[in-house]
């Protein structure tokens, strides 16, 4: 009997804990997808909210690897062929932040617009 009550108490604590975790604000990272295809970014320009940390999901649909790089946003990250990476950027002040693919710089050009 005692064991049962202990067990139920434990369950109650665990449940309330779970409820508490659910109630806690989830990290509100907005995810914005940028596709790489034929060494070009699609879309080439993406809009993000200013002054907020956002996550870019770079989806490389080419067979070749690429390096997603931006001096303005201070990021550089390799994304393998037919792979995806997440890049956290910001918080950015309003403005235009160019990025490029270092391995195919001639065609792979784009920009993040924070507003």
């Amino acid at each position: 009997m005692r064991r049962v009550s202990l067990l139920s108490a434990a369950c109650a604590i665990a449940l309330s804990g779970a409820a508490f975790l659910q109630a806690a604000p989830v990290r509100a990272d907005d995810v914005i997808t940028i596709v790489i295809k034929d060494h070009k970014f699609e879309p080439a320009e993406v809009k993000v909210p200013a002054n907020k940390r956002v996550t870019l999901l770079v989806d490389n649909q080419d067979a070749t690897s690429e390096e997603f790089e931006s001096g303005e946003m201070k990021v550089e990250k390799i994304v393998g062929g037919r792979k995806q990476i997440k890049v956290m950027v910001g918080p950015l002040k309003p403005g235009r932040y160019p990025f490029f693919g270092e391995f195919h710089e001639a065609t792979a050009q784009g920009a993040v617009i924070a507003e």
Partner: protein, 280 residues
């Protein structure tokens, strides 16, 4: 082909400049060739391994594996450079007095050489894995083929190696007495620049959430992805948009290494008598 030549050249240049400085810094130290070769070969093998597991590394720690990996290897290199400079401060006077006496210090000198081999290994590993990923990508696609990869890869490596040799030759023109002081400074600034880059990776990975404000923008004067900007980035840690955290890391490492070397110079090694005594 030109694109692959340029990309391989840029990556080889970054690692090559570090090899050039290390070669100059270890001028006259017995056994340096072996350790530096260890570093380069280990780095090349490591870069193939890293490239093979790139996706696995990337997906670690909630997709921040790549950032944390880069930051970790850079910070290891910073620690090794600090340790080498401290060792040089302890032994530098003997080395400068009589280059031949260095032979007697091989036992302890190997520890310092091992530290520098790690620095070279890490540099080759970081840049090399990008080269491997880039070249295997070209091989996998229809845009090139083995001839492109070979021509671009070998040409880029040769050019990168040439610049490193030129740096080395330039440095060893400096008289021995000043050479140690110069290379010690170069290694200190190299370490500071690496620490600043590591901080940037930590910020990118979301580990470091303070000091992200950009202090100034000198990209109008010199962009850090231009060739000169990139060389200065390796040599002295130049970056066109430094953040507060990067500047703090940079200054912190310079001051830290200076204090460490000063302390080390005032604490001669306990086995000094053994090292300094005639061998036979």
């Amino acid at each position: 082909m030109l694109a692959s030549l340029i990309i391989v050249f840029r990556e080889v240049l970054e690692a090559g400049l570090i090899v050039g400085i290390v070669l100059a810094a270890t001028q006259g130290v017995v056994g340096r060739g072996r350790w530096i070769a260890f570093g380069i070969i280990g780095g090349i093998i490591g870069s193939c391994v890293v490239a093979a597991f790139a996706d696995g590394i990337s997906s670690l720690f909630a997709d921040t594996g790549q950032e944390l990996f880069n930051a970790t290897v850079l910070l290891i290199a910073v620690a090794m450079l600090a340790w080498h400079n401290a060792w040089m401060a302890q032994h530098g006077r003997e080395l400068a007095r009589d280059m031949k006496a260095v032979g007697h210090a091989v036992q302890s000198g190997e520890k310092s050489l091992a530290a520098l081999a790690v620095v070279i290994g890490v540099a080759v590993l970081r840049e090399g894995s990008e080269v491997v990923l880039f070249l295997t990508g070209i091989l996998a696609s229809e845009e090139g083929g083995i001839a492109t990869v070979a021509a671009g890869g070998l040409g880029g490596m040769a050019l990168g190696a040439l610049v490193s040799v030129l740096l080395y030759v330039g440095l060893v023109q400096i008289p021995t007495r000043h050479l140690f002081a110069t290379t010690t400074w170069l290694l200190t600034l190299l370490a500071a620049g690496m620490a600043a880059t590591a901080v940037n990776f930590l910020a990118q990975g979301g580990v470091l959430n303070v000091g992200g404000a950009v202090l100034w923008d000198s990209s109008g004067l010199l962009r850090d992805n231009s060739l000169i900007g990139q060389a200065l980035h390796v040599l002295v840690g130049y970056t066109d948009r430094p953040t507060e955290a990067q500047l703090i890391a940079y200054v912190g490492v310079v001051v830290g290494i200076l204090l460490l070397t000063r302390w080390a110079a005032g604490n001669p090694p306990s086995n000094r008598s053994r090292v300094a005594s005639p061998a036979e």
